[in-house]
Amino acid sequence: MREWRLQNPHGHECLCRSTEWPLVLFTLATQLACGLAAAATVFDAMAGAAGAQPMRPLAAAIFPLIAAGLLGSLLHLGRPWMSWRAVANLRQSRLSREVLLTAVFAALALAYSACWWTGNTEGRLILGVATSAAGIVAVWASAAVYKTPTRPAWNSGWLPASFLGTTVLLGGVTPALLISWAGNAGILRVFLAATIAGSLLLLVAAFWMLADLSRCASGTFLSGHSAWLGCHVALASVLPVAIAVRLWPNGTAEITPLAVWVLPAVLAGSAAGRGAMYWLGTRYEPF
């Protein structure tokens, strides 16, 4: 006789919304802003205050990005006008800490973006290091929110790896595609290396997630998001690596026109992966 087993081990479908697009926007905007802060700081350090001018539009966009992410996250709330209460439980709640740390990152980003916008170079490098560090802490706090034993799909190392991978990928690929690199091939290659590293980290996270889920979920459960995951791997892992490998040898060439197609595709792939993450974690109740 076979071992006893339940016919419906995953419980019933949750009635809650499961894709969480406001949170996809919030997490991606935070990670893009963090990646750009780190990229601007690296550029500033390598090229010097005068040589880093091509980075100015992207560095100035850091604060608007994080502000857009925070405003977008309000759409996730049932009562957004009560959002000020989200920091009321700092002593215990990881979510409260995430909100506070993201607000600290946003405040530093405001000062950092203003520095670039006004052309003020005094103390900009130190502010860039502080903003990047605050961004990384905010991204880490964001990943910690999802580490809960009641959500097996999230309670694993693949999720922080995915958040970190997205930060590194977007921080590398965005300036690599949007800036004219004539005369700065060395710095471009730093960003291309970040692009490859972030893409590979995302690829590892995707397979790590599949390995985890194959142990605790059925094939039907997994097949429901295979298209999204395939889109994520193709656009946020394979495509950036291919572009980076193609651009590496001719690092001084004009490459800006590529951004028209590649950057939106990478962002769409990242959003598909993040959407799948929320779908997996919230679609089914714990038991």
């Binding site: 339940l6 709330l77 049932g78 009560m82 439980n89 215990q92 709640s93 979510l95 809960t148 038991f287």
Partner: protein, 183 residues
């Protein structure tokens, strides 16, 4: 799982439960819940292989855990655990509708209401003599009382098949189940 003296909890005799869902309806009626929101749920489980098949039903609402994940998770401080009886109370006025409690509760107890933008959960019908579910159950399968007494009942267990580990939040509930449902 050790039971504290003051803690109030549920006892559900699953061997009596007929899955009539009267407890669910009474709960919805008392709390004025719309379609889809079930603060108390009866879950049915079945398994085995002919001729040795089995089925059992577990009626459950908030378990008023001794170490509640919702209290620790809620960013707005909308949840509190009363010192006098251990009841986990949710204050809808403080709720911001982030739904994080619905993610961290191992038992799916908090229920989000899309129309209201807030979460609702069992407050053990505070102010009533007995909770609506206890009063309504035609099989007298649900009881409420001090957890220390409930834990002493014959067959009382919290180690159930395919249930979240009681070590996660130390739920203040005990079931009486047939051996097939035991972990």
């Amino acid at each position: 799982v050790a039971a504290s003296r003051a803690q109030i909890g549920f006892f559900v005799d699953a061997t009596r439960c007929s899955n009539c869902k009267t407890c669910e309806i009474a709960c919805k009626d008392f709390n004025g819940l719309g379609p889809g929101r079930r603060i108390r749920k009866v879950r049915s489980f079945e398994g085995g292989e002919f001729p040795a098949v089995f089925a059992y039903n577990l009626s459950m609402s908030c378990n008023h855990c001794e170490d509640p994940a919702c209290v620790k998770g809620c960013p707005a401080g909308a949840y509190s655990k009363r010192a006098e009886d251990g009841i986990v109370v949710h204050d809808p006025e403080k709720c911001i509708g982030c739904r994080y409690c619905t993610w961290v509760c191992p038992y799916g107890a908090p229920q989000y209401d899309e129309r209201d933008g807030r979460v609702r959960k069992c407050n053990l019908c505070l102010g009533e003599t007995v909770p609506a579910c206890v009063a309504a159950c035609p099989m007298r399968a649900i009881e409420v009382g001090p957890l220390a007494e409930i834990a002493e009942k014959t067959g009382a267990t919290v180690a159930l098949r395919d249930w979240p580990s009681p070590a996660l939040t130390r739920p203040s509930i005990r079931y009486r189940v047939r051996k097939e449902a035991q972990a």
